[in-house]
């Protein structure tokens, strides 16, 4: 779920840097490295990218709390979509408690990554 944070943030802030193909290949790489079913994270990240980027105008110039709140929605969609796809591929149903735990952890650590990405974004803007 770490990659969901990155893709969710950068696809809104800098869609010129993070293209759908980048999110897709990040997912493929994650699948290959972590041993997840091939294509699973690729599809999830692609959907997160598209969902976040399509709402760009809605997100910009809003408070951090608002971003956090919206990210919680995107992450919820991402984890349940992933759970659904994984259940189809692996032909088994993963325990809901673990899914929710993973989701809560991702949402809780978002502010730390959000602040870090915001600083990075300022640095990138200065360079340009």
């Amino acid at each position: 779920m770490w990659t969901v944070i990155g893709v969710g943030y950068w696809s809104i802030v800098r869609p010129d840097l993070i293209r759908p193909s980048f999110s897709f290949f990040t997912g493929v790489f994650e699948d290959l490295l972590c041993g997840a079913p091939l294509g699973l994270n690729a599809l999830v990240l692609l959907c997160v990218h598209t969902a976040a980027a399509s709402q760009k105008r809605f997100f910009l110039y809003k408070s951090f709390l608002f971003w956090w709140f919206i990210f919680a929605f995107i992450a919820l969609f991402a984890i349940f979509f992933k759970w659904f796809l994984f259940s189809l591929i692996a032909d088994t149903v993963t325990r809901l408690r673990e899914i929710l735990l993973s989701y809560c952890l991702t949402v809780l650590i978002y502010p730390a990554f959000g602040r870090l990405f915001a600083s990075l974004e300022v640095l990138l803007a200065k360079d340009e």
């Binding site: 779920m1 493929v28 490295l33 041993g35 599809l43 692609l46 994984f86 149903v93 993963t94």
Partner: protein, 288 residues
Amino acid sequence: MKPPAGHVSRLMAFRLLLHRFTFLTLMMIAFGLMLLGKAETLLVDRLRAGIGDAFTPLLEILSRPAANVAILVENVRHLVMLRAENTRLHEENVRLLHWQAVARHLEGENHALRSLLKVVPGPTASFISARIIAVTDGPFVRSALLNAGRRDGVRKGQAVVTGAGLAGRVDRVGSLSASILLLTDIHSRIPVVVTPSRNRALLIANKGTLQLIYMIGDGPIAPGNRVVTAEDAYAFPPDIPVGIVTHVKDSLIEVKPFVNTSTIEYALLVDYGLSGILPDITLKREDR
């Protein structure tokens, strides 16, 4: 020389079309990859092993600070629980001293009986120690990456143990790295024996717990029974501790593993020269 205007507009239109359908195209590729992952497992395994090999040096560097932080957290936790831990260790020491006396007695008796029956000793195991450089311990996948591979003698199917017991088995082998399928992963299947009843079963991970299925034997099973590996299908060496039965209700038997798979740092790979886990066909081809 400038390209003709009609040519440029056609190119632009194609780019626009491509951009518009990027999502759809990538989505179809993702579904294609899912099918490929199911159908061409060897190709995907080779890809995974290649990626694992390529990123092993980087992950090895990154894993050291993470391991140091984990040690620090563990040390603080131990300091907080020092008094309770001391009492527990005293009690455990008394219990272990008793078991040491029993084990010595049984060792002598076993030696005497073996020499009487002229028992042929079983195969000796070889061990490879390796560091775990990455652990994926999420709700979907439970695997770990080792910094040892084919060149170090790692083979697919080797049992992975820690001081506490079985942690999993080697799933994929690259030349510099190897991937472990942890026993808590939903794809893990381990032939086991429940002691003292000696009932045989298959240990699987289902909905976050380890469960025993396909039980053979009529012996009683109760919470507290130990579960060890069975030599069925020549997949694992026998009698490696796996876990303890925690819950028995009708046909549902839950097992708690001895190894906490999310905190392993080092692992031993045990090779008894068994051939139960199917070897990589690609490796066989390379050997020819």
